[in-house]
Each structure stands twice: as structure tokens, then as C-alpha cells.
Amino acid sequence: MSADASFFQWVAFIWEQNWPLFLRGAGNTILIALTGTIIGFLIGIVIGIIRTIPVDHNTSLLKRIILKIADVLLLCYIEVFRGTPMMVQAMVIFYGIAMIYGIHLNPIPAGIVIVSINTGAYMAEIVRGGILSIDKGQFEAAHAIGMTHAQTMSSIILPQAIRNILPATSNEFVINIKDTCVLSVISISELFFNSKSAAGANFRYFETFLITCIIYLIMTFTITRILRWFEKKLDGPSVYTIHGSQTVPEAEIRIVDGGKLHV
């Protein structure tokens, strides 16, 4: 490669030379971000459900105390993991456990755990917001027909709440794809760290990082499109028919174009 080659010739050349390095790094990034976000999402849902268990004058003292303790503990978890940088968490957890207990974790699973609990803290609040966004009347109606909190959540509230929090989840996903780059401090060869290695050898930074940018953009764009498609799917078709009565089949309401009534 001659020294006076053009910028894009360099980009092509660097890709040709280092593509396995970039792709393996991207693979690690997507693996950690994907598993971390999914586990974090589940943690968020569990915490969200626990933190919205209703307490009223019929609630027993014991249950009140347990709920209060759980609430305080979960709040601590949320505040600590939401309020400290992920890089610091990674250092403290990974090297701290090794130092105190002598347990040497494998970097990638450790990275997944760190991203999961970090995302879980954010998702807990997002899920809580999603649950609170559902009209209180629906809780009351569910309780009035004798449903438990778990039943209310699983059959009525969560299906609506999860639809509502999907855009925020997609945000978390994108943030996780980008933020996994701080995990290089615990020896994870993710995309940014590998790019730095490539650039560290060829000393062509803009060219190398342009490739990195494009790969990150492809990953985040794909993820957001998939989640957008999923949102659309959850919304259901915009054209459907409500059958008014089984005995009078002609009594039906046709919904066309997302809810504008055409009887």
C-alpha cells in the first residue's frame, strides 16, 4: 500500500487486512448486548411487578413489612447500578471478586452479568413506568372480578405495558451495543477494543474507526428495525371486524385504518 493512497483506498485495505478482527469484535459486542438486554428486561419485569404490588388497609402487617423491605432493597439496587458508570461496575465486580474471593470469572459471562444487572436497573424503572401508564380502572376491574395481582399483571397489564415500553427497550438495546466498549478493561475483545488494536498496528485511525462506525451503525440500525417490526406486530392489523353477536351475525363493526369507525 503506497503512502499516498487515498482515504477510501486505505479504508478498503484496512478492512481487507483486519476483517476477522472487526467481525469477531462485533460478534462479542452483539452477544453481550443481546443477552444482557434480554436478561435485564426480565429482571426489570420481575422488579416492576414486585414494586407495584398494591398495599391497602386489608394488607396484613407481615406482608407490609416484607414488601417494604423488598422495596428498599430493590430501590438500593436500582439506585446503585443506575447511578454508577458501567466501567466502574465492571472493574469492581470482575477484579473485586477475584481479589476478595479468589474467583476468576470468565470475561464474557462476567460481561454479560454486568450488562444484565446494569440494564435491569434501568428496565425496572421503565417497566414500573409502563405499568403505571395503564389506567387504574383496569386494576380495579380485575380485582373486582377476583383476579390476583399475578393474574392481573400477566393477563391484563403486562401485555399492554410491554407494548408501551418497547420503544424504551429499543433505546436500552442501542445504548448497550455502544456501551459494551467499556468492558475492554476486563479483557473483553469487543468491537471498539479490537478496532483500537487494529489501529494500534497500522496507525491509520480515521480509516479504521470509519469501519468501526459503519459496523456499529449496521448493528444498531438492524436492532431498532427488528424491534420496530415487533411493535407493529403487537399492534395487530389496522383492519379488522368486531362481531357484535353470535345470534345476529350481521351485527358487526368493521374497523378500517387504525380505529376510524366504519359501521
Binding site: 477484579y95 395481582h149 399475578a150 478493561v185 479483557s187 485511525y205
Partner: protein
Amino acid sequence: MRKTWRLLLSAIMVIGLLVTAVGCGTSGQPGGDNAQQGDTSKAEVFKVGMECGYAPFNWTQLDDSNGAVPIQGTKEFAGGYDVEIAKLIAQGLGRELVIVKTAWDGLVPAVQSGTIDAIIAGMSPTAERKKTIDFTDNYYKSDLVMVVKKGSPYENATSIQDFAGAKITAQLNTFHYTVIDQIKDVKKQQAMEDFPAMRVALESGIIDGYVSERPEGVSASAANSNFVMVEFAKGQGFEASDDDVAIAVGMKKGNADLEKINEILAGISEQQRLELMDKAIANQPTAE
């Protein structure tokens, strides 16, 4: 009421399950890694941490040419002067060399926590670092240079005082950054995280130059024709103590292998070191 309890219990169980599932992933997956940890206690592997991005001391490459060593947990290989020294040390200790690629900021906590046995990453044994980790004797000694952009007015500087008014920086947490104060009227910039960041800053004109060591300067100017290394004659350059310009192996305080490694390092002659460095500079995977 019982139903609420059941719900609480199941929620706790779900959390427990998640934790154990993840825990299993942590302890179950790295079968090979666990074996290696077992080996560490039996002292059969010698785990060395480096950035693998600081040519010619250490770099990442895709094959095992020129005696490169596999990087743990990846399909890449590490090469460079540090790797050659690490190989000699591992050989002398009679242990198998394992290279752990870790970002600069993670190296000291990694060695303190026993995740790696030694840092061989072009690290200088500064007084500050000696407070937290131990260092062996030097395995390389270099001169301080300045890397500037080709065609800049500082290209032909002969003394560090020629950089008066220039925007100069160096790597964060290194003595390179402190010696900048020896230049009168210099516009000292914020320290940067690593060499990649400084090279980007230099190429884009945010800084006029950065303080570096000779091998890095030689590599940078050889690999990217936009960079020029400025060397200084004796008395015209930066004043730095031996501890600062030298490079040594960092180890956890009280590590019993330190003496042994010093013996091994003493057996590597000055001539051999120069040859290894020349070989590393020649072998580094530049695009040229």
C-alpha cells in the same frame, strides 16, 4: 393472601433462577479456563496482561507469524517486544505463556486481583505505581521523543524549548504527561487515555504533538507517513529519572516469582534487547 405469597415466592425464585443460570454460565462455560486457573495455582501457566495495541511493544495480529502468541479467549495473536520478553520469562520459569488482552486501565487491578500474573505492557516503574504494585528490573530503556505532524513548524525542532506555544499532550497516568511542564510556555493539553486517542488528535490537528518513547515514535512515523518523530540531543531533551524511561514487568506486591524473573532478565544482554526491539519494529504489521 396465600396467592400473594405464592407470587412473591415465585418472583424470588425467578430471580434466583436467573442468578444461577447466569452463574452456571460463568462457572460452567469456561471449562478450559477453569483448568487454566487450576494450573495457575500449580504454577504451570504464566498469565501476562498487555493492551495488544502499542506497537512495537505489543500488538494484535491475525496469524501466528513471527512467533506471535495466541491471545486468551480470542482467535487473534499477540506479537511485539513485550511478547518476546514474556516468552523468555515464561521459558525461564518453566511455565506456559498465556497472553491476556486487557485495556490499560484494567492492567493494574488485574494484577492486583491475581487475574493475571504480570504486566508486560511497556509500563514504566514510576514511583506512584510502585506504591500499588512491585516491579522487576528493567527490560528496556528508551529516550523520550515528541511525535508531530509532517509539515508542521515543529518538525525540525532540536530542543524541547522549541515547543513553546505548542499544544502538547501525553498519555493519562504516565510520566510523559508530567515532563511536559519542563517546556517553557507550553500549552499543556488535557491528558489523553491512550496512544490511539493521541494519534487521532495529532492527525486531526487538535494537538501539535505528543510525548512518547523512541520505539513508539519510530513505529508511528514508519507506519503513518503523516507522523514525524522529533528526537533531542542530550541536554536538549526532557529530563527524566531512570525509573521513568525504563520499562519493567509489573507484579502483585509480594509475588515470589519476582526474584526469579529478575534473574531471567539479567540473562538477557543489552545486545539481545536491541536485536529483539529491532526485530519487533521490523515485524510489526504496518500497512506499508
